[in-house]
Symmetry: C2
Subunit: 116 residues, 2 copies
DNA sequence: GCGATACCGACAATCATTCTCATTAAGCGG
DNA sequence: CCGCTTAATGAGAATGATTGTCGGTATCGC
């Protein structure tokens, strides 16, 4: 399961992970895939985000630091992006409106060079 | 339907809109709620975003311009935010990695003044 | 080896969302 | 007002992702 995520260089849905694992001949249940993915997410080893249709997408990330993603909406390939601009903007906006304890999500969706 | 969205000053799920409309005595089907909400979204009159569990949440927005939200994770109240910094960051990042046709999502979650 | 325990796979259940289709409402020329 | 065409609607079935259930199995300390 971990291998499947590492090998893919983009986000995979739970179904895709399931198919990939099955493809290696390993006999595994779909429920287990969800359980293990959730465990990986809880452990901080995998990033999860919601596609535009609300489906959960998983990815093994190279860094455990806070970062964002640039995702190809065609092939799923993704690039990790760090940005101080976003962090600054988030903190600034929160302060201006009296909000505390603020977190944020930010993802970019487009077509990668190959899929253009 | 529009009234229900306007009256709430936070995001509502499709089910909540459905309940609100039914509460007024209006006889309407759930499928119609989804259809009309989608139409409103397409027309730019309503914003939609995905909650952390993937559920679609709708809100009547005051401006039809592109903007983001600062949302209280306790009471659901939200503030609309415009930011040129984000737009610049998105365009810049996309260009740098050869992505085209890029859109983005960015939301801030925190506790509003009253809920702090 | 033995019992306690955690994990697992198969499948049923749930929940949001979409699809289907017969029905109804609305526009319109006569 | 009438009949006809067309778009929108409601009810409920269908779909698809995700989660729960439960009997079975591998594991570990003793």
């Amino acid at each position: 399961m971990w291998n499947a995520l590492e090998r893919a260089d983009g986000f995979l849905s739970a179904q895709e992970v399931f198919d990939a694992v099955r493809g290696t001949g390993e006999r595994v249940g779909l429920a287990t895939v969800y359980r293990r993915l959730q465990a990986l997410v809880d452990g901080g080893d995998v990033d999860v985000l919601r596609g535009e249709d609300g489906e959960a997408l998983y990815r093994a990330c190279r860094t455990s630091e806070h970062h964002h993603h640039l995702i190809c909406r065609n092939c799923g390939a993704s690039v990790e992006i760090k940005s101080t601009a976003i962090e600054r903007w988030a903190a600034e906006s929160a302060r201006k409106h009296g909000f505390t304890d603020v977190t944020h999500t930010a993802e970019l969706y487009g077509r990668c060079r190959r899929c253009s």
